[in-house]
Assembly symmetry: D2
Homo-oligomer: 109 residues x 4
């Protein structure tokens, strides 16, 4: 089994044992991702980038991945496929000669 | 090469071609994840869960995964490992007999 | 009329002219606040604190206030009252002698 | 003193007693608003709009207002002024005859 399929199977097992599919509609999964992202963000609040607690970053990032994989599963997206596809789009949005070394958004390039 | 290693290599190639590593400190990557999560959330705003545009969900979710993988790479986390580890912790936090069928948080169980 | 009552009346007029009350349930208003907060956050992404565009900060902050006032109105909260009340609670959570000069969370003090 | 000036004075007093101005740069204040917004959002997670705990909504909303007022103060924005100004802009972005009864974004009208 591929890596991400294994992750998804483990997440579905955890969810189904608790009968939580009823709560996991796409909208609330999107809320969950936002909430976990803010918990990650909080680890950096009032701090320098290098001062967050690594152990906690690991846990919050794992939570973000968990809900993101569950949402991908809902829509039957293949994670590798959609990321590689998005990189291709961004290749056009951010051409190397214009985007190199600048953090500007594509509509300001 | 494993799936997630492939994803990360593609993301690093994209980043390095543009010389963007200088911007990608962990704090700003955490901001980026939050921002992309909110863009996903916006697809559901004022709508029922099933009414979001699938094509756009795919793109926003890909953005979230991209920054999440880049942050994992910064900390040298293996995504499969940290998710499976978190599931184990949640197994203790949300025991099946208490958590089944309820959406309560662990501290209210 | 008090200042915040004026703000709320202007927001309700704008909303009602467009017949948008039907969309403004508390859950979606909470989503809207999160989404606008992330748009504010984006103005600081990959940047130093002082490098955000002031004019844009003004607009995004206005959006956050707008949805926050609309949510307060839904629950009939008086904004001045709830903020002063929260400051009192935080006075106990963060006693000056322990909290002074540190950015630690109350549960780490 | 006007209402919002009173709120801001109370917030500044609380902040200064704790010597926290050093942490309150605009970027981290924006992070704080996002984080508090997500805590508000969490009160609605896996729930219907009407099922959030009112007392907790009050507290999280107060936190959002607190950091939003502190950020407004940093930039010397008058809250009433910037909200009324934004409503005027939105009046043009969302003309009544096009926007009435629809939740579409301005660029889809």
């Amino acid at each position: 089994m591929k890596e991400n399929e294994e992750i998804i199977q483990a997440l579905l097992k955890f969810r189904n044992e608790r009968d939580w599919e009823q709560f996991h509609n796409p909208k609330d999964l999107a809320l969950a991702i936002s909430i976990e992202s803010a918990e990650l963000l909080e680890l950096f609040l009032w701090k320098k980038a290098e001062d967050a607690n690594t152990e906690k970053v690991k846990e919050e990032l794992a939570d973000i991945f968990s809900f993101a994989f569950l949402l991908a599963e809902k829509y039957e997206f293949d994670v590798k496929e959609i990321v590689l596809e998005k990189i291709k789009k961004n290749d056009l949005k951010y051409p190397v000669d214009k985007a190199k070394g600048t953090s500007k958004k594509y509509d300001e390039l």
